[in-house]
Amino acid sequence: MSELDLGAATGLHRRTVRGSLSPARLWRHTGVRRLVILAGLAAIWQVAALWQNNPLLFPTFTDTALAFIEAARSEGMLWSALASVFVLLKGYAIAIVLALVLVSGAVAIPFVRDVLQTLTAMFNPLPAIALLPLAMMWLGLGEKALLLVLVHSVLWPFALAALSGFEQVPETQRLVGRNYGLRGPSYVVRILLPAALPSILSGLKIGWAFAWRTLIAAELVFGVSSSQGGLGWFIYRSRNELLTDRVFAGLACVILIGLVVEMVIFRFIERRTVLRWGLQR
């Protein structure tokens, strides 16, 4: 091993050194910085609301926080949220499976690729919520209609990201896989999927955000899905009763769930995979 290589090898061990809890080190932690940003936003909100002094239109941060706790305790807001998340996960999963089937076909067969690219170009710009009236006519007021718009909102952007991920797998890594005699499904699972993971993950994140906003919007439009109203319905109902602090609490709940999924779940997956592998910075 040459001197040059040894220098790089010692660098491997440097990153395992752990620091103490000094403020400077804490500040380097992304989570700490985000908490500071959130606290700052809450403070600005509080000051602005106190200065406005119109609780009916613009409740303070503390009022909203209290309404949040109250709604979670007695108004079943968390159940509404759970109902929303459950429907969302169903639609999300269906869309991901459909997209992976389409993309696998597109990778293997050039004509399917043309079909998929045409479809994504057509449907990607079409807001999912615009399909809702049609979905309600076809499938009635219920979960099926919600699922249709959800699938539409996730399928196209995710398929687009996954397809470009597969197409960007470096030629050398493809050849390495073929060199070992890998073909068919084992080639896809062992080489293409991990190599395309950065794009697939970002597609999953985009799909999640689209699905979440589509679902809340759909619930606002026609409210109750099946027996249990979702979070959008909770917001709509609170507005009808002029409980503005509760509307804010509902919105905060939407944001919080989005934040948790993005910063805890997706961040965790990324740190375990693409960040660790140096595929993404």
Partner: protein
């Protein structure tokens, strides 16, 4: 290594049937590639024979089809005509009996540690148990001096270390033939020198069969036991030379220098005519 002048029959002649077939053989290998403008001949009727333990170097200017030949030997591209035989058996596609070390640094799979990268072909192609694959991977990595980087991911390695790991990966799986496509071309001069020396030491020790593609004349004379010179557009055999007697100690010796000059003359004169 020998270049057969007579039209070779598809099957080994009866006289040779009793002897062991060569590790790798290409007969009248012709390779085309298709572009938008039409079909272009990259390699025209090249014969190669690599005996067990031999190191054949394909040398030529860019456009002589040396990398294309290597890709065909690996089974990545089909031959337009002619045949490729590994230990007497025709090549129909890629396989782990002919492992390739590429020039590109991204040939290590970024989602696997260095150890797992080396163990991977053992697991998928040789169906070796995890414990044995890991043990063999660690042994191979120790040979190339990478014991300290076992648990590192490839992105943390220098270019030289990546190429060492790729060589270890190919060695660990114990293929019939090792194929190397300009593995040191993207390295700095110091690291390249070091890796050439280390590869040569490994070859002397393990006696593996190697086909090595390069465009550097001194590297070709040093690494190979025989030299196969190619002329460009399309790739044709220009000359062959036996270089088995050159070792590390001969670099810069009069004989080494005179062969290097002769090869340079052959390649340069040919290029001037084209």
């Amino acid at each position: 290594m020998s270049v057969s002048a007579s039209p070779a029959p598809t099957f080994a002649p009866a006289a040779a049937a009793a002897t062991v077939p060569p590790a790798l053989e290409a007969r009248r290998l012709t390779l085309d590639y298709t572009t938008d403008a039409g079909t272009v001949r990259a390699v025209d009727s090249v014969d190669l024979t690599v005996a067990e333990g031999e190191r054949l170097v394909l040398l030529g200017p860019s456009g002589c089809g040396k990398s294309t030949i290597l890709k065909a030997l690996a089974g990545f591209i089909p031959a337009t005509s002619g045949s490729i035989l590994v230990r007497g058996k025709p090549v129909t596609g890629p396989g782990p009996d002919r492992l390739v070390v590429f020039q590109e640094f991204d040939q290590l799979l970024p989602w696997k540690t260095v150890r797992d990268n080396v163990a991977f072909p053992l697991r998928v192609a040789r169906k070796v148990s995890r414990a044995e694959a890991n043990a063999r991977a660690e042994a191979a990595l120790a040979r190339v001096g990478l014991t300290r980087a076992l648990d590192a991911f490839p992105h943390a390695l220098s270019g030289g270390m990546k190429q060492r790991a790729a060589i270890a990966r190919a060695l660990a799986a114990d293929p019939d033939v090792l194929l190397m496509d300009e593995p040191f071309a993207a390295l700095d001069a110091l690291t390249r020198r070091q890796l050439q020396e280390d590869l040569l030491a490994l070859a002397e020790e393990l006696k593996f069969t190697l086909v090595f593609v390069t465009h550097a004349i001194d590297e070709a004379v040093l690494i190979g036991t025989s030299l196969h010179l190619l002329s460009p557009h399309p790739g044709r055999t220009l000359a062959t030379r036996d270089t088995a007697h050159f070792g590390l100690a001969d670099v810069g010796s009069p004989a080494f220098e005179s062969l290097t000059r002769e090869v340079h003359g052959l390649l340069f004169d040919k290029a001037a005519h084209v």
